[in-house]
């Protein structure tokens, strides 16, 4: 476990060494907050946080791929994966270390975004349970997207390719119901489409309903992509 922690720590600090990560984190926080203040807070004077979380949610499809695109692609490009994977760290430990580091770094960004509800709290009386539920929902989506981003990064040695491919998958999961929901299709398929939609699961958690089906949904995405990630690392062994 101490090995996972050592790699995780290095990966976490690595985000701070990456200018791109800073820029995207700033754009993300800046854009979400400006949009929230401009379009939700000022017009209505309503401090309903569901808007805030919607803006956060719809910013995540680009910020998370931007953070994760580097992780494996850069290792492959520099050849440092050979260094990492010949240390006394097995493939699973390497995958999990990078995953936890991503969660920690994004958690930090989300923590910074807490400043907004906190400052709004000084003005009025925010609905804390809803805010906490919203943040849980955001971290659930982040958990899924980070797993996707890392997996896509393990497919290539090019960061832009990793970025674009994870944006496509994340956007797909966010918009699948909007895209396909309007077509008529058999019941089982329309159930599948709405089940796969990240947004739907997020809304129910954000409403404060922690349903095991939603948790299972996120965990299975995480599990699926982490397994794929490990599989792609192992692919070096055959090809």
């Amino acid at each position: 476990m101490s090995r996972v922690w050592a790699v995780c720590k290095k990966e976490f600090w690595g985000y701070f060494n990456s200018l791109i990560a800073y820029i995207f984190a700033i754009i993300f926080l800046g854009a979400v907050n400006i949009l929230y203040i401009w379009f939700a807070l000022l017009p209505s004077g309503d401090i309903n946080f569901s808007y805030y979380f919607s803006f956060l949610l719809y910013g995540m499809w680009f910020v998370i791929p931007a953070l994760t695109m580097r992780s494996w692609a850069e290792e492959k490009k520099l050849g440092t994966d050979e260094l990492l994977l010949t240390l006394p760290v097995n493939d699973w430990e390497a995958v999990l270390s990078k995953y936890f580091a991503g969660i920690l770094f994004f958690g930090l960004i989300v923590l910074l975004s807490l400043l907004v509800p906190l400052s709004v709290a000084l003005l009025g009386k925010p609905d804390w349970p809803a805010i906490i539920a919203g943040y849980i929902g955001i971290m659930m989506v982040a958990a899924a997207f980070i797993a996707i981003g890392l997996m896509m990064s393990s497919l290539t040695r090019s960061q832009p390719v990793a970025f674009v491919s994870s944006v496509i998958v994340c956007l797909g999961l966010l918009g699948i119901n909007d895209l396909l929901g309007r077509f008529s299709m058999p019941a089982w398929l329309s159930f599948l489409v709405s089940y796969l939609d990240v947004g739907d699961h997020f809304q129910s958690i954000a409403r404060g309903v922690i349903d095991s089906r939603d948790i299972i949904y996120y965990l299975s995405i995480v599990f699926f992509f982490l397994v794929l990630n490990k599989y792609w690392l192992e692919r070096r062994k055959w090809a």
């Binding site: 101490s2 520099l78 440092t80 260094l83 994977l85 097995n90």
Partner: protein
Amino acid sequence: MIEVSGLTKRFGHITAVDNISFKVAKGEVVGFLGPNGAGKSTTMRVLTCYLPADEGRCTVAGFDVLTESVEVRKRIGYLPENTPLYSEMSVEGFLRYIAEVRGIKGEDQKRKIDQMIQVCGIEPVVKMDISELSRGFRQRVGLAQAMIHDPEILIMDEPTSGLDPNQIIEIRELIKKLGKEKTVIISTHILSEAEATCSRMIIIDKGKLIADGSLEDVARLASGANVHRIKARGDKNVIERELGSLPGAAGFKLVGEEFGLLSYEIYGEPNRELCEEIFRTAVKSGFSLAELFHERRTLEDIFIQLTRGGQG
């Protein structure tokens, strides 16, 4: 210390390593030689648990590289080809990271890092980012990284490639020093390097092991290796008669005639040095020798002969 038996590794339909077996005893410094693409790096990657073998079994310090890979990794220090390093980290930060992953903590960690900085001569660059380092310093940081946990076994893939001659000499000295305490495998396609640092050589070509032994053993493997060259002055008939009846010689050939000097190649029986015989014969039969030497074939000759052998 290291046992490889029947190692085979294929990539698609290309066989990179074809049924290689060898053993390395504790304290040996083994040179892994072969042309580019011979399968040196692949073999090393199997030993360091980066790639699994398709067939065969490898054990390191008694641990199987497939099933007990973490135990193997703990005992190996590995310098991969081209020295990949995390370029955005500082030298110090990088060494601390490697130490931490290897479970070296606290006082011990500080002591070992200081020791590596000293042994590898990287004091001047400790605070710098790895991306700013020259090739020579990168290589030393790579070595420091490989040795920080004081491994029993060091595996280095072309440790001197890309260095200037002074740096090459320094790294070789370092390897020699290490070789006194550790089991070392270095791969190279530079023969003088193997000659300078290794006590034993393993030559592989097109994935196959074609020679294994000391420099002398390998030289013996290359056939027709025992050649003496002389330049003699005197009666040609007498000289040739005497050379023909020389004990221990398998034959001779006139290769040149210049200013009355006759140049001959004399082929000795394997492992037989004939210089004194030739000298005595010359004295006895009254011809003079202007030149006499036993040709020690260079590793280059042997290497070329062995690795081109298959093509005739």
